[in-house]
Amino acid sequence: MKNTTIWKSLSHIREDYIEEAAPDKAAAASAATPARSPKSVQRRIIEWGALAACFALVAGFAITGIGSLLGNTTDEFDRYETRPAMNYVVTQEASWREWGFPCTIDGQKLVWRFPIIEWEGETYALAQDHKSYIQVQPDQVGEVLEEISLNVRELSDHQISATVNATISAHKDIDPAYGVVLTIEGVENPVLYRSGKYAESFEELVDKTNLQEYLTSYEYIIHTTQNKQGEDVRIAFEEMTADILWNELLMYGKTVDYDGEDDEYLRIGVGHELLRPNAFVLCISEDGYITLAMLKAGKAIYVGADRVQAFMDYLDANHPGYRLVEKDYSVPEGEMNTVTVTSKAHTG
């Protein structure tokens, strides 16, 4: 087959795709996005909900992801929704499906629902900040990370701020055929704190960082780490295969103890930052607790220590099922394809 065969065959693709991508349409669609005004309130809510969902992906992707990857259905999903730590009052629901998100992995769609709350006349979408696990085959790791990263980037016009911290680990005695565990952790982006304080605005954030350059600079997911001998090791997930990854784990993985049982898990960490301008992670951070990430349309909102109590009072009054929680995550020994998330009330 020639390259021209594909080029010519494109002439006969679906007409709605052709019209959708027509130059005037594409420009109009792009131009219309920042304004948002033509969209209905409902659509805005869903759209910003999708934003939160997107952050929730990096914050808690694997809860639904595991279900999909392992072939589970909505039961897993529903269980997630009713976990004690997630006992929000859900006023709106939205699906990533209509936003082309999340990714398709082995033909399965991941779906995420999330809560939205109203506070002081504004609509907020809540997402959790937590760590999750997916068991994948080694040669899927690059694909999963790439899909996550790319899909987050695709929402760049929605401007999300987030970080993916992925860690690949496996018990040293486990056969490679069983796969590895991909840990995905969402955290607030350290760039936000580079100046030593919260940025007051997106412009300030850009001024004080190399954000714009940073956002547009990556091509591949490449991680540089050090092996046991202290030598630099580069891991390029773009071309990752099962054999390569397994060898990397065996040769360079650092041994960690997940559960106090003195087991040896091999681990390679991959920090992959994704920061979107104009949508700010709102961190409620007091006494070391960063429990919620909130995204709000249009402008930066920060709740400093002096407003945390007011916000929590509001939650107590209007969403009585909601509590701050301290979470404990662990991978049960011998059950690496099972996720255990336990919560306990924060009494501090």
Binding site: I13, I18, E20, S156
Partner: protein, 190 residues
Amino acid sequence: MDHEKITDGQIIDLYFARSEEAIAKTQRRYGAYCTTIANSILHSSADTEECVNDTYLKVWESIPPAHPGNLKAYIGKIARNLAIHRYEKERAEKRGGGEVPLILSELEECVPSPSSAEDRVSQTVLTDALNRFLGRQSRQNRIVFLRRYWYNASVAEIAKDMGLSESAVKSILHRLRNRLKLALEKEGIL
């Protein structure tokens, strides 16, 4: 003035009535669109003009019996096909310029080698596979892909239209080509 409000359906009705006004209406409504498509391939004012005129003629000849559901895309397809034919004819004599050689070299990544399995796959099968592939992509990805490989737009143009950086567009295209190759391989087309 009425031409500003005329609908595609009314234009098609004019074709069916064999009214030559249909061509004039088509020209007003889609002339610039056709010119953009043809010029993106031919990069020659004279060739583009001829190609666009050929497009009107082809539309006139094909409607009826054709009754396109999407007149804009229908005309765009004809303009693109005619421009490709003209481009290939020109290329047989001399190397073409503009974005096309670059685009073709990019699409080279989606095929194993230029000579293997030469055109064994029917166009219908390939087109169906492309439709399925495109259907699985997000709207933005699909638009970026088609702006590049259907409308032959430059990366800079796409970036400007879509409000993305050029590197973001390149990154998306790179991944989409990889995905397309994978998809075609999975479907046994490559």
